[in-house]
């Protein structure tokens, strides 16, 4: 079994509040440092820094991001759920492909999908439509073409 399905509950309020916090963080980062909040760009710049002060703010931001689940635990009493429905092999394949794609595409869901869409950047709108569509097609193929054909992959 390399890919299964774990049902999840519809959580409109928690998801909306989470989205509002993500947007708030993006606005505050623009206000403070004049930067868009793109996870890909922040991580890439952290790994190949353009100087020590450039590295420092990226490191501080990443440290904060990683503290997020702990902050969530203080409110919710437990860590956020991470339910992985696929095998470790597929997780590695998926991760490598994501790394390739976001580097060539210059951004991901946060950079293009949130910050770029909010700025009405034509590049980001095209990028977001492209990856939303290809993600949907990929999920459809894995769950509704490959899985039935192989008796659950």
């Amino acid at each position: 079994m390399i890919s299964g399905v774990i049902p999840t509950e519809f959580t409109p309020i928690a998801s909306l509040l989470g989205g509002v916090l993500i947007g708030t963080a993006a606005v505050l980062l623009m206000l403070l440092r004049g930067r868009v909040f793109g996870a890909t760009g922040i991580l890439a710049g952290f790994m190949s820094p353009q100087g020590s002060s450039d590295w420092a703010w990226r490191a501080a931001l990443l440290a904060g991001m990683v503290t997020g689940p702990l902050a969530y635990m203080i409110f919710a009493g437990h860590m956020p759920a991470v339910q992985v429905p696929i095998s470790k092999g597929m997780l590695i394949v998926g991760g490598f492909i994501v790394g390739l794609g976001v580097t060539y595409g210059s951004g991901c869901t946060s950079g293009h999908g949130v910050c770029g869409m909010a700025r009405l950047s034509p590049r980001s709108i095209v990028a977001t439509l492209s990856f939303m569509l290809s993600t949907g097609v990929t999920v459809y193929i894995i769950r509704h073409v490959l899985a039935p054909a192989t008796g659950g992959i």
Binding site: L17, A118, R143
Partner: protein
Amino acid sequence: MSLFLTYVIGVIFGLGISMSGMANPSKVLNFFDVAGAWDPSLIFVMGGAVTVSFFGYRWVFRKFRSPAVEPQFMVPTSRVIDAKLVGGSVVFGVGWGIAGFCPGGALPALGTFDGDVWLFSIAMVAGIFAAKFLMKLTATRAARHAS
């Protein structure tokens, strides 16, 4: 002080990702599985995030001539829509559809110390370096052909 504020902004983002469900690959994959176990929650994440940043960015740019601790706003200015942008984004979507993690979801989720998130993230970093290496290689080849 500005580094501490940057850290706090990171915490707000990570808390938002944790609440929203973006750190949970099953929730992400079920959002895209319209024909199956559909969970529409992520529409609310995107809706909330884009609405707040749409109005928030406008307010920041109207109200301030420069950010608080940097001399100027460093907003991406490229308007080029090419095969690299579209192809890269399509490839990203394939990976996202396989694994259910995107970079902005996975990085905060590292803080749960879930082994699978670390495995995904290490593979993603390897993919980023592989892409940078390939880009450098093609750039060198193109320069050699040009000379």
